[in-house]
């Protein structure tokens, strides 16, 4: 049991370490216009630079408009996914741990 917990702790620590180092070393790079800009937009910028004549022939039908609204919608996506994931894990846990019969008090 303790070995299992140690493994879990070590795996979590590895995750924290990866993103800690990413934030620390990544901020020294100035390859993108904005620090930690998305690679999707970096790729788009690269296309516009190499093929300045290319005109995107279709526009998104809906645009969140601001970074705030967009981050809210991303949070909604994560929240929806997290809710379903939590429900599924909880329900599976319930299958393995049926509620004990109430003895009354």
């Amino acid at each position: 049991m303790t070995r299992k917990r140690l493994t879990t702790a070590a795996l979590l620590a590895a995750l924290v370490l990866i993103f800690g180092m990413s934030l620390a070393f990544g901020s020294q790079h100035t390859s993108t216009a904005t620090p930690f800009g998305g690679t999707d937009s970096v790729a788009t910028a690269a296309i516009q630079q190499s093929d300045p004549d290319y005109v995107p022939w279709f526009q998104p039908w809906f645009n969140p408009g601001s970074a705030e609204v967009e981050s809210g919608l991303f949070a909604l996506q994560a929240g929806l996914g997290g809710t379903v994931l939590g429900f599924a894990v909880g329900a599976l846990w319930g299958r393995r741990h049926p509620a004990p019969a109430r003895t009354g008090d």
């Binding site: 930690f36 809906f62 379903v84 429900f87 599924a88």
Partner: protein, 226 residues
């Protein structure tokens, strides 16, 4: 890995749609079949879909100084086979294309091909190979998630290079350029996704052992075999 709306020539958009469609349709059928044949595995199916939904919404910083998101498709590919993930990834990508202006309707076929088809197939293949080599299921899960994530971005780089070859260095030059954007950034993220996958898989082994056995993910206990 989202190729932005309108950023592939129309012929490419059609070609990627045609390439992805059979996998997605087959995957959709498999989802229905799966939930009918093994209703007890529905919760795991929901968990696999939700895992991808959450992970693809989180943009994480990388050592390259840019940020990108994991895909989370390797887990579902191991549990339910790759075509199911082609279908589930299409739902995720549609959501992002319609509500978040991430990716797009025109580039949906191409994005489904990288995230929903190439990634899951490579992830599942790595899992099977790890199994054949006799490696532990933890190592297999790590490789499945990390490689599904990484190869998704390799595919995106290839798709963009194919559409926008360099005037001087051609396809190879453009491929190098787009790999420079995606690959380096994705390495730490893919490793992190692999580690997260191991954590989630350990939880699933605890709470869904019988379901995982029936799906053939982990070997069935001798007494459980009829």
């Amino acid at each position: 890995m989202h190729i932005a709306e309108g950023f592939l020539p129309a012929t490419h958009c059609v070609a990627w749609y045609l390439a992805s469609a059979p996998f997605v349709i087959h995957g959709g059928r498999r989802v229905i079949q799966q939930s009918k044949e093994q209703p007890e595995a529905r919760l795991l199916l929901a968990a696999a879909g939700a895992f991808t939904f959450v992970l693809s919404s989180i943009k994480l910083p990388s050592i390259s100084g840019s940020s990108s998101h994991p895909t989370g498709t390797g887990l579902g590919a191991v549990l339910f086979r790759p075509p199911v993930m082609a279908f589930l990834s299409t739902i995720v990508l549609l959501f992002q294309a319609l509500l978040l202006a991430h990716g797009g309707i025109t580039t949906l076929g191409a994005n489904v091909f990288s995230m929903g088809i190439v990634g899951p197939f490579v992830g599942y293949g790595s899992w099977r190979l790890a199994r054949r080599f006799g490696w532990s299921d933890r190592v297999g899960i790590f490789l499945a998630l990390a490689l599904a994530d990484f190869t998704t971005y390799l595919m995106t780089s290839f798709q963009l290079a194919l559409a926008f070859p360099d005037p001087v260095s051609g396809l190879a030059g453009a491929m190098t350029k787009f790999l420079g954007v995606f690959a380096f950034t994705q390495v730490p993220l893919a490793i992190a996704e692999g580690i997260l996958g191991v954590l989630v898989f350990r939880v699933l082994l605890d709470i869904a052992g019988p379901e995982l056995q029936r799906l053939g993910v982990v070997p069935a206990l001798p007494e459980a075999v009829a």
